[in-house]
Symmetry: C2
Subunit: 85 residues, 2 copies
């Protein structure tokens, strides 16, 4: 059994507006000196520590848990799961 760190990134689907990111961009960043930034979007991240036999099983298990427990809303959010050993 190997200990994996699994990163779960929950972000809005394309087309769903992200007022928090837009506000940081328009009302904070672009009013300052840095004009090279064109977009900011926000996301939520969960970091799991899990013991599994391989990376794929670890990612699959976490995906299952996130779906089952409704950790995110599949109507509006998309989820990206990556395991690191």
């Amino acid at each position: 059994m190997v200990t994996y760190n699994v990163h779960v990134i929950i972000e809005n689907k394309p087309g769903i507006s992200d007022p928090e990111g837009e506000t940081i961009l328009n009302d904070l960043v672009l009013k300052g000196t840095c004009k090279t930034i064109s977009k900011i979007s926000t996301a939520k991240m969960l970091k799991f520590t899990i013991n599994e036999k391989d990376k794929k099983t670890a990612e699959g298990k976490i995906q299952e848990i996130c779906d089952e427990l409704r950790i995110y809303n599949p109507m509006v959010s998309k989820v990206t799961i990556n395991a690191f050993d």
Copy 2:
């Protein structure tokens, strides 16, 4: 100029408690069938799209903005910045 995607991960410093992660672990995950998970911590993520001449400049610029605008609280949070092209 290259367009970089810069990921900013804001998480609690070690030693600062994370009630949200603890609750997901103890009250949701460990009450289910999966007992191989030993830790869950939460983080906030911001994704910047920036035009800069190289990766290092892009990361430096974003670090500067995050510090200047107090995007995170340096007393309790640590920030990790990674640029991808």
